[in-house]
């Protein structure tokens, strides 16, 4: 298991009667971008938060960068970059102050200048976070995740709610992180995003992985789309697997 950036086996987590994650096993290799796909309430966020050490599983094994949360929590935190769903950074602080704050938590990492340059927020350095656009906020949040120059990035729906330009820009940033040998584990609702960014994806539903593989393989396995108005996409695979009925939540 040590060659993997992330591996977990038979993860299980329930909230009362609701089983959020049921016997979930997956591994992410070093240097790859792995996507967790699934409808709302499928258990993606619970899974990623267990892997991030923010939630304790009811059962199962987790190993991240060859370390375990119980034994090496502080060291592990130093080597991870995390972007959560729906975090709102403090509105009253400026971009630079926010970065300086997050940078102070890491023993090694990038300078504020580098971070600003990477996410192209140099011109917004003295702006209050509350005045940034959605895309700028998301890039700042990514910069906070990159402050410790992490080996592994966890991203929970990084582009939800962004306009196409901002999404593309974020994709490019993640590409660059990968090209330097970084590993990414992300969740997303956007199939085009998964198709574009991920080497492998796992489709999660009701707390289980119901399919996994490279996006192209999954598309190939599905065969020709039944309505042949377009080429097969990962979205067709997703819909075929998880059904067409609307989900609550």
């Amino acid at each position: 298991m040590t060659g993997n950036a992330v591996s977990c086996a038979q993860l299980r987590k329930s909230y009362g009667d609701v089983v959020a994650v049921a016997d979930l096993t997956l591994s992410v290799q070093r240097g790859e971008c792995f996507g967790l796909l699934g409808p709302n309430g499928a258990g993606k966020t619970t899974t990623i938060e267990i892997l991030e050490g923010l939630l304790r599983p009811d059962a199962g094994e987790v190993e991240v960068l060859g370390l375990r949360w119980a034994d090496d929590g502080p060291e592990l935190r130093q080597r991870l970059g995390i972007q959560l769903q729906e975090t709102q950074l403090a509105d009253k602080l400026t971009v630079e102050e926010t970065l300086r704050l997050f940078r102070s938590f890491y023993t090694r990492g990038r300078t504020i200048e580098e971070l600003l340059k990477i996410v192209e927020l140099e011109s917004k350095r003295t702006s209050r976070v509350g005045r940034l656009s959605g895309g700028q906020k998301q890039r700042l949040s990514l910069a906070c995740a990159l402050a410790g120059d992490p080996d592994l990035l966890f991203l929970d729906e990084p582009t939800t709610g962004l306009d196409p330009q901002s999404r593309r820009q974020l994709w490019m940033l993640l590409e660059q992180f990968r090209s330097r040998g970084g590993t990414i584990l992300m969740t997303t609702h956007y199939m085009d995003e998964a198709e574009y960014l991920c080497d492998r994806v796992a489709v999660v539903d009701q707390g289980r992985i119901i399919a996994h593989g490279a996006p192209k393989e999954l598309i190939a396995r599905l065969g020709q789309p039944k309505v042949t108005t377009h080429h097969g996409t990962l979205e067709d695979v997703f819909m075929a697997l998880t059904g067409r009925h609307l989900r609550d939540e």
Partner: protein, 387 residues
């Protein structure tokens, strides 16, 4: 749900596929160079997490104009209002009500020339209202001998009765057995406003400590910022300590402003040393900050934290002697009142500011405050929800 085209999910050992490297066009490539290791040293003072966390909290506070007003401006507005409502009592005359008309003419002329008496006309049908509102402290009815109508439960009323009785009897020819020598003394610090200012400072330390810390934390929790912070290598205890430290930074201003205002505007005497006052205020602020932390440990909404704060603060507003002395409460409850942090803080501030007490002189109050600081802080470390 299962699709025959898809393999069962055995994930380990999966070979990595060769995806074509995607080409992003239309964007300039930013530099994602290897990190420069120098430039920002964590070991420097400003690079320390505790310093950065404290700075962040301070900045959030000073960039909130409303919070700044309630902390610094409000105490001054209150002390000004109270000074206007309760001027120095020594030369305030008693108000005597007389019915208009010829019947009260002789009473009127007798009382009129006396020092310390103001006469107001009161119609018989309006008498009760005038007494209730404090418009007059006593009504003298022209019977023989005269009838006094007053409220013995009110101090001003009893005083008015004594003054009027004295004047009327002397005018009726009562002999004076002797005349005492009077030596009027202006005892500095004995006025209501002097007594009130330390209470006001104590009240400010309590409410600013609790609101400032409680609100900030609940807001961060609602925004999922707390969760984001603990996803980083930040130490949890440092986050909580920073909330307390950020409070300490503004404390001198918070204490000095009303104090200087009272000295300049009312000539209030300050007999204690600045260091002693600071230490007492500091210990008080830490203990209310810790109580604020405890209340905010689990609250998830602004409504919840407001309710908790009011629940804790309201009883102390009443019993701890901000506006009137806590000695007014029955002896049986005194031990409880003195075990409250606000009572301890205000008692200590009054002793230090007005009587010039030393730290040793207020050690029992400081002990009470320290206990109220240490126990809630460590309890909140245990209870605190970061999600």
């Amino acid at each position: 749900m299962s699709d025959p085209n898809v393999d069962p999910p055995v994930v380990s050992g999966f070979s990595r596929t060769s995806l074509d490297p995607p080409v992003v066009s239309g964007f300039s490539r930013t530099s994602f160079d290897p990190p420069v290791v120098s430039g920002f040293s964590r070991t420097s003072f400003t690079g320390r997490p505790l310093v950065q966390l404290t700075l962040a909290r301070m900045r959030e506070f000073i960039r909130e104009p409303e919070a700044v007003f309630w902390t610094f401006g409000f105490p001054i507005v209150v002390s000004l209002a109270l000074a206007l409502a309760f001027p120095s009592r020594a030369d305030r005359p008693v108000a005597v009500g007389l019915y208009p008309g010829a019947a009260t003419e002789s009473l009127r002329s007798t009382l009129k020339g006396s020092h310390g008496i103001t006469i107001r006309d009161v119609r018989p049908d309006d008498e009760r209202r005038a007494l209730r509102e404090g418009e007059v402290n006593i009504v003298v009815v022209p019977t023989t001998p005269p009838t006094y109508r007053f409220d013995p439960a009110r101090e001003e009323s009893r005083l008015a009765r004594a003054v009027v009785d004295d004047v009327l009897k002397r005018a009726a020819g009562r002999p004076e057995p002797w005349t005492a020598q009077e030596q009027p003394q202006e005892v500095a610090g004995s006025r209501y406003i002097d007594w009130f200012i330390p209470g006001l400072i104590g009240m400010g330390i309590m409410s600013n400590g609790m609101w400032g810390i409680g609100f900030g934390i609940v807001q961060a929790r609602m925004r999922k910022l707390l969760k984001r912070m603990v996803a980083s290598p930040m130490r949890r205890s440092e986050y909580l300590l920073a909330q307390l430290f950020a409070r300490m930074v503004f404390l001198p201003v918070e204490v000095l402003l009303p104090l200087i205002f009272a000295v300049v505007a009312f000539g209030m005497p300050v007999n204690g040393s600045a260091v002693t006052i600071t230490v007492v205020a500091l210990i008080g602020a830490l203990s209310f900050g810790a109580i604020g932390l405890l209340l905010a440990s689990r609250a998830r909404t602004i409504e919840a934290i407001s309710g908790l704060m009011n629940l804790v603060m309201l009883p102390m507003w009443i019993v701890s002697g901000i506006f009137f002395s806590s000695a007014n409460f029955p002896a049986a409850v005194q031990p409880f009142i003195h075990a409250l942090p606000l009572t301890a803080l205000i008692d200590a501030l009054r002793a230090v500011i007005l009587d010039g007490a030393t730290l040793a002189g207020v050690r029992s109050e400081l002990l009470v405050l320290t206990i109220w600081g240490v126990v809630p802080f460590f309890t909140s470390l245990k209870l605190f929800s970061w999600r």
